[in-house]
């Protein structure tokens, strides 16, 4: 499984914009080909003259739906990583109605108006100007109605989850429904709109098995395959190989020792993502430099890029271990946890205990190094139990550590989704 390419880190944010441009060109091209740059063609939908909007939209929806389902089912695409706009049922129903009214009054929707303006339609350009005016007005009243816009939240949820139906079955149902709608649409075009049927339509009286019908047959067949394929999500519980996870948990391969982590931070390594799973208040009080805060309850499938090395820590070890299991079960390949959590971090990195005075010289040298590390993180060594000992002298013999850089500690990648402020949706 290695798609969506972007979320697996195949290319960065900067290149994603170049991809966006390319995808946009294709999108605009097909919108124009479909006749969506023409307001009369779009409005004809609502007078049963030409049900193009319905045909194009539903063909596109079922194509992408069946395609993404099958790619996900056969392990190429991780559907759980495809961004799903959260549902706010009330505002979306009201917004949909307003949008529908705007559609019939203005004759376009935002995407199609771009195409119409690009092909010289002056009404399309005026429509765009009107939309910008609408956005400006909405922005001014938004702070007062913000609570209304966030009403009835259902979260990121699909129909399959909402109605507890198998995803594949739903795919098949939508495909069947779409073809039902196409046949009805062609019938209505002829009956109400008085339009002669297209040469290549589903309702052509000839017994020919034309391209449209072949296309329909293929999609329905694929839909039928989908209906019996089960869930597209790799993350479903049944697919977690518990035995392998248990074996992994048994070894210590998933541990990062505090001293090791301290070295990583001092080296300025940025090939890992340090995640604090405690509550924000605790995070604010103290956190390991460079960590980001994702409370346990907010760990989601897309909280980080999948190919990233992730290190969890919490106060002790338990919450980190739970986060480790959760995220490992979601299919992230390289997940680690800080051994002993923050307690161990305090004990071994921030306030290392001095060895007894009669300890071998090797321990003494090692301790001196740890004192230097502690200094870097703003901690200080503590005395060990037993006989008192002098303050560690050998520190001078070691190279002095650089103080932490003034503003930004050598942290992880700044562009992790957890920190990203801009919204991803439309």
């Amino acid at each position: 499984m290695n798609a969506p390419f972007f979320k697996y880190g195949l290319f960065g944010d900067e290149m994603s914009l170049v991809v966006a441009f390319g995808i946009g060109i294709a999108f605009g091209f097909f919108l124009e080909r479909a006749g969506f740059g023409n307001a009369r063609k779009l409005a004809a939908q609502f007078y049963f003259r030409d049900l193009r909007v319905l045909k194009v939209m539903f063909t596109a929806i079922i194509t992408a739906m069946v395609g993404s389902f099958l790619l996900a089912r056969f392990g190429f695409l991780d559907l759980s990583l495809v961004y799903l706009t959260p549902t706010f049922l009330g505002p979306q129903i009201v917004g949909g109605l307003i949008l529908g009214v705007g559609f019939i009054i203005g004759g376009y929707c935002p995407g199609t108006s771009c195409v119409s303006a690009a092909t010289g339609r002056i009404d399309g350009m005026v429509y765009l100007a009107g939309m910008i005016g609408g956005l400006l007005g909405f922005a001014e009243v938004y702070p007062r109605i913000e609570h209304l816009v966030k009403l009835t939240p259902l979260g990121q949820v699909t129909l399959a989850e909402q109605f507890n139906l198998p995803y594949g079955l739903l795919v098949f149902a939508v495909v069947l429904m779409a073809f039902g709608a196409f046949v009805a649409a062609e019938w209505a075009e002829g009956r109400i709109g008085g339009k002669a049927p297209d040469a290549d339509s589903l309702l052509t009286p000839a017994r020919k098995f034309g391209p449209a019908r072949k296309f329909a047959a293929v999609l329905i067949a694929l839909g039928l395959v989908a209906a019996f394929s089960g869930s597209p999500y790799r993350t479903a519980l049944a697919q977690v190989d518990t035995r392998q996870l248990a074996l992994e948990a048994g070894t210590k391969a998933d541990h990062v020792m505090p001293a090791e982590l301290a070295d990583w931070i001092i080296e300025g390594r940025n090939d890992y993502l340090l995640v604090d799973v405690r509550e924000p208040a605790e995070f604010a009080a103290y956190h390991i430099p460079g960590a980001i805060n994702v409370p346990l309850a907010e760990l989601k499938q897309d909280f980080a890029r999948r190919n990233e090395r992730i290190v969890f820590y919490s106060d002790g070890g338990i919450h980190a271990a739970q986060a480790w299991f959760l995220i490992r079960a979601l299919g992230f390949p390289s997940v680690y946890m800080l051994f002993g959590g923050l307690e161990e971090w305090h004990d071994t990195v921030l306030n290392p205990a001095a060895p007894p005075a009669d300890a071998p010289a090797k321990d003494q040298v090692d301790f001196a190094r740890r004192v230097a590390v502690a200094g870097y993180f703003g901690g200080s060594p503590r005395r060990a139990e037993g006989p008192a000992l002098a303050a560690p002298a050998p520190a001078a013999a070691l190279p002095k550590l650089a103080p932490p850089p003034p503003a930004a500690p050598p942290v992880t990648k700044p562009a992790t989704p957890a920190k990203k402020k801009k919204k991803e949706g439309c």
Partner: protein, 178 residues
């Protein structure tokens, strides 16, 4: 005559006395600096190596800032080859700022390019530049490189040294003893 500066990085502790002395002596406006301290740490923990040094205009033998100046405001002074700016000729085009690989210049709030002058007004009176004269660790030395008996010539002859960004081809005249 070829004025140069030799700075002993083994002695510099980054106390910033030179920075303060320069600001006072040359009346450098608030928020601007003609000289500054840099700290470089290199290596891999725990075998780190740190170098603290004081930096300023290198008064290069091959000064790109002088070559690109359209009005001749940036020029090489006859005395010791010091690179100077005549502020009444400078139009503030900022070409010299872009041309300097050391980023040693800045635009004075009055609108002209400004930078270190090796305190030529003091040197002409037989004094040392302000930064050199206040250095508490005596890590900075100023003098004539053409005079083989000068302090700076003897230091360069006796100790390993390097200059900053020699690969930029500017032939800088501030030497750092290592």
């Amino acid at each position: 005559m070829r004025y140069i500066m030799v700075i002993d990085t083994k002695r510099c502790v980054g106390c910033m006395d030179c920075v303060v002395a320069c600001k006072t002596e040359n009346n450098v406006p608030e928020g601007y600096n003609r000289d500054w301290i840099t700290e470089t740490v290199r290596g891999e923990f725990p075998t780190l190596q740190m170098e603290i040094r004081t930096e300023r205009c290198n008064h290069c033998d091959h000064p790109p800032c002088v070559h690109c100046c359209p009005t001749g405001a940036s020029h090489v002074h006859d005395r010791g080859g010091v690179v100077l700016v005549t502020k009444d000729e400078c139009i503030g085009c900022k070409a010299c700022l872009a041309a300097c690989p050391y980023d040693a210049r800045f635009i004075h709030p009055d609108g002209y390019a400004d930078k270190c002058t090796f305190c030529l007004h003091r040197v002409e009176k037989g004094q040392l530049p302000a930064c050199v004269s206040v250095c508490p660790t005596h890590c900075m030395h100023f003098g004539d490189a053409d005079d083989p008996l000068s302090d700076v010539s003897r230091l360069l002859a006796s100790r390993p040294h390097h200059t900053l960004l020699p690969e930029a081809g500017t032939r800088p005249r501030i030497y750092y003893l290592t």
